[in-house]
């Protein structure tokens, strides 16, 4: 059942993205000549993509992490602009940590496509200050940039850490956009001046932060492998067409090996991600460890691939008009999103250590 639904979903996503988000449209967006991000956003909400991961009670399609994975891979493959990662991560995260009241308030708006979320680009930055239920200060960088988004930001609440859910209102809570080198991703900082949050979520034991990490790392990892496969495939196609010395460059063994290596980097990252998605879907105890490892592997692979694709294209790879730089910049940003790969591997090491001390093996693969 899920398999059939997923297949239909993949088909519909790919159709829309290949029609709307081709290379030309993407370049126009990059140069500020169209509103591809909002166009895609509207389509996504009309077609129900935004609700893929949520349960039916929240108005979702109940496809969980498998569905989200498919969507993020497709968006990555297209280099799709917009706040898809923060919004989908934000919704999934809240669905796991927020109380009934907040979910009733936000999720119908989200499913209807009326609400974008902003989430931390990574944890560990500055936290907002909370006093008597009001917030002040400037957040660290958030992904998601719409002026009226709902931001989920770390706060230093009295007696511990936690997160605040704040609706940007343009007065007490203002999203100040930040322009990134990767122009496909909206981002900004939330500036609060006695802002009243929609909710405060305490996180004394770090469970809420762990939830962010699983959701964010899975989303970014999927984006990485989708994007890496796309730019690698495009590079192979280019070398098949580009003739120098009287024959296609693709006939040169040195370049064949380089291309083969691109795919040899991507494939294990994809399989590790598949494993992490399964683990997260089953709410496996070792899920966070696998999510962290999958993101690190996927982002390392994407970064390697995107860089070599520039070189393999030669002069055109160095230009603004070709796709290579869009993907390279996306790869550079992805390395930071959800936490740098080194930090994620350290986190995974802690998880492994905890499991080992309890005598649990984390390496079982479920049928």
């Amino acid at each position: 059942m899920l398999e059939d639904d997923l297949e239909l979903l993949v088909q519909s996503i790919e159709d829309v993205l290949s029609n709307e988000c081709g290379s030309q449209a993407l370049h126009k967006f990059y140069d500020g000549e169209n509103a591809l991000d909002t166009d895609l956003w509207r389509q996504a909400s009309d077609l129900g993509w935004l609700a893929i991961g949520l349960t039916e009670e929240l108005g979702g399609l109940e496809m969980g992490y498998r569905g989200l994975d498919v969507l993020h891979r497709a968006l990555g493959r297209a280099g799709a602009p917009g706040g898809f990662i923060p919004t989908l991560v934000g919704a999934q995260w809240l669905s796991q940590v927020a109380d009934e009241r907040l979910l009733q308030e936000l999720m119908p708006r989200f499913v209807a496509g009326e609400l974008e979320f902003a989430v931390p680009a990574a944890l560990g930055g500055v936290a907002l200050e909370e006093r008597d239920g009001f917030l002040s200060g400037t957040s660290s960088l958030l992904m998601g940039g719409s002026e009226t988004c709902v931001a989920i930001v770390p706060v230093g609440v009295v007696g511990g850490r936690g997160f605040a859910v704040v609706e940007a209102d343009g007065r007490t809570a203002v999203m100040e956009p930040a322009e990134l080198w990767d122009r496909t991703r909206p981002a900004g900082k939330l500036v609060c001046n006695q802002a009243k949050p929609l909710a405060l979520i305490a996180d004394a034991d770090g469970a809420v932060a762990r939830c962010y990490l699983s959701n964010m790392t899975l989303a970014v990892a999927a984006d990485c492998v989708g994007a890496a496969r796309r730019i690698a495939g495009q590079t192979v196609d280019y070398l098949k067409e580009r003739v120098q010395f009287g024959k296609p460059l693709a006939t040169l063994q040195a370049l064949k090996h380089r291309c083969a290596d691109l795919f040899l980097k991507i494939t294990p990252a994809e399989d590790l991600l598949n494993h992490a998605v399964d683990a997260a879907s089953r709410a496996d105890r070792s899920a966070l460890m696998w999510c962290a490892l999958a993101k690190a592997a996927a982002s390392d692979a994407f970064r390697f691939v995107a860089a070599d694709c520039v070189q393999l294209h030669g002069g055109v790879g160095h230009t603004w008009e070709f796709d290579c730089h869009i993907f390279l910049k996306r790869a550079l940003l992805n390395e930071e999103l959800g936490g740098r790969n080194a930090i994620l591997r350290d986190l995974a090491a802690e998880e492994l250590n905890l499991a080992a001390m309890k005598g649990i093996s984390t390496m079982e693969i479920a049928a």
Binding site: W181, D182, Q244, Q311, G315, L328, L333, E336
Partner: protein
């Protein structure tokens, strides 16, 4: 390093106080350093009065160098140079890098390629017509590559057809750096398209005036958002025969000296600059207690690169010493230099992006984009592609240095 005799003459109106010390390396260094401090102070003043454009800054800098006879120090006096020794040139490059003055990017082709080509192949008229102008800051560009002829340069198709005392040129060139500022272009075009002869044998070398009718320049934006190179569209451009360098059909041979200049000399100062980039990056990290200093993996990576930068500088010094005894074509190590140097710049750029964390991802709209790690990194691919890509260099290393058979 051997010291040759100091320059004894220089163009009229030139302050020779630095050149006069060229016989004593320490005194020369001190004089250059003092002068650079003054220039840097003037530069600061210039910036305060409104930041000059790239072009204005480059021309200002060339003029400053010319005031003291250091515009083209490696050239013979006859053509507007100062003919200082290799040791002095090395010292000067070290000091330029240390003072963080701008690299003379706009003049790369004129100072190196044009000079290398004309001094070996140019007629006396060509030399006297162009070299003194170049020494004063005339900008040249290089029109070699074409959309269909990159690594396979010899397959170029731009046609030059002899018509009396002129050639009529038609075709398209691409990736011509700074050509939007250039007054002249060193151009390769096909004078013989006979498929029976070797492709290389049909090529001739020209000096093209960029203001001639039929020359159109269309800038191309590169990955960091700046437009430093351009396409040249040539339609019935009429170039006098006197502007050909070498005989008809000898262009490929002439171009080899141009390319040798590109692959050889340019890299030394760049490596010296990399030293300060790396040192400053480290100092800034210490100053603000950057988080990567606490990360063992990052520290090790930095130290590996740090060692490689030093190795690179050491290598250049050795090669420059050896170069005194051989022509650039003989220097089989030159392709190795190019690959090592450009791969290292990529690796350093890559490191700086990651070490700078999320901050580096934020785009800052300023004149000097290269100060931003992402710009620096994405631009670093240019060096590994231009001037014979690193893949082509590896072929040369394998075939000419290691003696491995051609396919």
């Amino acid at each position: 390093m051997m010291l040759s005799t100091a320059a004894t003459s220089a163009a009229a109106g030139v302050d020779t106080s630095i050149l006069d010390k060229a016989g004593d390396l320490d005194a020369f260094r001190t004089a250059v350093r003092t002068w650079l401090e003054e220039v840097t102070a003037r530069r600061r003043k210039l910036d305060q009065d409104g930041r000059p454009s790239f072009y204005d800054l480059q021309q200002w800098w060339m003029a400053e160098r010319n005031k003291v006879g250091l515009g083209t120090p490696h050239w013979p006096v006859k053509y507007g140079g100062s003919n200082i020794s290799l040791a002095c040139q090395v010292t000067m490059s070290e000091e330029l890098a240390r003072a963080r003055v701008p690299a003379m990017s706009l003049f790369t082709v004129s100072l190196n390629h044009v000079f290398a080509t004309l001094s070996m192949w140019g007629t006396e008229e060509q030399k006297t017509a162009y070299l003194p102008e170049v020494a004063k800051g005339a900008v040249w560009c290089q029109g070699f590559s074409e959309p269909g002829a990159g690594s396979d340069l010899a397959s170029l198709r731009t046609r030059a057809v002899r018509d009396g005392d002129h050639y009529v040129v038609n075709g398209q060139k691409i990736w011509s750096s700074y050509s939007m500022y250039a007054g002249h272009c060193i151009l390769l075009a096909r004078t013989n398209a006979d498929p029976e002869i070797k492709k290389q044998a049909g090529i001739s070398y020209f000096l093209m005036d960029m203001t001639l009718p039929g020359v159109e320049v269309r800038p191309i934006k590169q990955s960091n958002g700046d437009a430093e190179f351009a396409e040249l569209f040539l339609t019935d451009v009429s170039i006098p025969v006197s502007q050909r360098v070498g005989e008809e059909g000898e262009g490929w041979k002439v171009a080899q000296s141009t390319l040798a200049a590109e692959r050889g000399v340019l890299a030394f100062e760049a490596a010296e600059r990399l030293r300060y980039d790396v040192e400053e990056f480290y100092a800034a990290a210490v100053e603000c207690s950057a988080s990567w200093l606490q990360d063992a993996e990052m520290r090790r990576e930095f130290m590996r690169l740090f060692g490689e930068v030093q190795a690179c500088r050491k290598m250049f010094r050795r090669l420059l010493r050896e170069a005194g005894q051989m022509s650039p074509e003989q220097a089989a190590t030159v392709p190795q230099v190019k690959v090592i140097n450009t791969a290292l710049r990529k690796a350093v750029g890559d490191f700086m992006v990651r070490a700078s964390g999320m901050d580096a991802q934020i785009f800052v709209d300023c004149e000097d984009r290269m100060a931003q790690p992402v710009s620096r990194y994405v631009s670093s691919f240019g060096g590994a592609i231009a001037g014979g890509s690193n893949e082509i260099m590896r072929n040369i290393i394998a075939e000419r240095v290691l003696g491995m058979p051609r396919r």
